[in-house]
Amino acid sequence: MSRVTSIASNTFREAVRDRVLYNLIAFALLMMGASLLVGQISLGVERNVVINLGLTAVSLFGLVIAVFIGIGLVSKEIEKKTLYTILSRPVRRWEFILGKFGGLVATLVVNTFFMAIGIFAAVLYLARHFQKADAYLLVALYFIILQFVMITALALLFSSFSSPLLSAVFAFALFIIGTFAQDLRGFAALTHGAARWIATAAAYVVPNFAALNIISSVAHGQPVAGSLVLYNSLYALLYSAAAVAGAMLIFEHRNLK
């Protein structure tokens, strides 16, 4: 396990030194600008607007990082041949995949942590105090992290057999389709015969990001059910585990030319 953590911490270090966390500066500027502007033009819905804007920004910034770093996690190492001096050591291929995955997830968690501080600071600036419903912000951020874990796993899966460009296309496409996963399931329910089977299968194969998006309800101060947290956690865990296992399986048999 120490080899996995070594690879993960090196992946994290790479992201930090490649200035990935500089996106925090852009986020901080966005939150500061939004807080000042919203405070002047919104009548009584400042909190709602800032939370909506902040959580959406966290989601989009993280998505871009997850996809663009995720697709290069394996392919860049093969292309630059840095993998040769790793896999010629007592490192199993699955350990490498798991380490790279863990490193990028850790990067995204740290990134989200600092962004969360920004959102809470903006809410405090506008409302002058926290209220009980603000605690659900943490649940929304947790669900966003679960989305990052899933999209990182998918990007890793695609990058284990495809080119970086195609991997990015696949990952973004799945994110968009997954955002409308509930509609896809509704559509499947309306069809008949073989089409129903195919539509239902497709609806369950694509990641259900819709279920993980509670930004709007949290912005309106609505509570989040404990069962949703449990089911979403299990769903994201199982989906990501399946995608990472797929990446490991493909990479295990790949010739490094």
Binding site: S2, R3, S6, I7, N10, R13, E14, R17, D18, K80, K81, T82, L83, Y84, T85, I86, L87, S88, R89, P90, V91, R92, H253, N255, L256, K257
Partner: protein, 310 residues
């Protein structure tokens, strides 16, 4: 006991986009490298040297055949803890410093935490990178990166070291240092398997060599044995500014440079040549046995198979 063994190791790629067709990168290769031996793996570019090394490192999977290193399968982590590998034209994580990179590799190689710093310091000293150990690798020259590559290959004190074109990109001093390093690895009892197309390096360092061409093993053995086939000739050198007809008639190649002349003849014609020089009142300067070089053998083995048969 063999440190490295291959048994009919073969690799075929599929090339082409629509109609895939096979291209053989390595024909069935069977060879053994003894423990403690420095083994040169020679061949021109595209001969299949790097393919062989990738198969041995488990980076590629053979189409057929198998290989063992230190008696273990090539994907066995216990074996990998005991080998070091320098890839051709290595590229490392350039956001790390040399020290950070070596510490990372030491962790992956299973070097104990308390021994890590000492081991890294020792290997940095050995390859002459102590002064730049805190500099990010993106600022390193090609020669310095090659040193880092060698350092990471020997960092964990491996029993077998694989070097793919270790002299590539090095200046004469760097090449000399790598040669000395390989010699010192041999003194330490390590097995060194290195691929190169620089024959003088192989001749100076190797106990045995193998010659590979178009994916096929064309020759293997101790250098002295491989080159003995062209022996049996001598070079006669004399002073006097001319080549007597009696020497020309021996059929050897003759050269005249100012006052000095020389001819390469068969050993059994030596007495005739000396008599001819004496009769012509020319001064014999030297008689040197002609020893074929590894280059002669190499070139011979790289000729088409039909030419060799003739």
């Amino acid at each position: 006991m063999f440190a490295i063994e291959t048994f009919g190791l073969e690799k075929t790629y599929s090339v082409g986009f629509w109609r895939k067709r096979p291209r053989c990168a390595l024909r069935p290769l069977t060879l053994g490298v003894e423990e403690g031996e420095v083994f040169g793996y020679l061949g021109p570019n595209g001969a299949g040297k790097t393919t062989t090394l990738k198969l041995l490192m488990g980076l590629m999977f053979p189409t057929s055949g198998s290989a063992k290193i230190l008696g273990m399968e090539v994907d066995d982590p216990r074996m990998k803890a005991q080998i070091g590998f320098l890839p051709e034209q290595p590229y490392f994580y350039d956001y790390l410093t040399a020290r950070e990179l070596l510490e990372y590799y030491a962790q992956l190689s299973g070097v104990e935490a308390r021994a890590r710093a000492r081991r890294v310091a020792a290997v940095l000293e050995r390859v002459g990178l102590v002064d730049v150990s805190g500099v990010q690798l993106r600022k390193f020259s090609k020669g310095m990166l090659q040193r880092v590559g060698i350092a990471q290959a020997i960092l964990h004190d491996p029993k077998v070291v694989f070097l793919d074109e270790p002299m590539s990109g090095l200046d004469p001093i760097g090449r000399r240092e790598v040669r000395d390093l390989i010699a010192s690895l041999k003194e330490e009892g390590k097995t060194v398997f290195f691929s190169t197309h620089i024959l003088s390096d192989a001749e100076a360092l190797c106990d045995r060599v193998a010659i590979l061409h178009q994916g096929e093993l064309r020759g293997i053995g101790v250098i002295a044995d491989l080159t003995s086939s062209v022996r049996g000739k001598v070079e006669v050198m004399w002073q006097g500014g001319n080549i007597p007809p009696a020497i020309r008639s021996l059929g050897g190649e003759c050269h005249l440079t100012g006052e000095m002349a020389r001819s390469i003849i068969a050993e059994e014609q030596l007495d005739l040549a000396i008599d001819a020089l004496r009769r012509a009142n020319l001064k014999l300067v030297s008689v040197t046995p002609v020893r074929a070089t590894l280059e002669d053998y190499f070139v011979e083995k790289l000729s088409p198979a039909e030419a060799i048969a003739k």
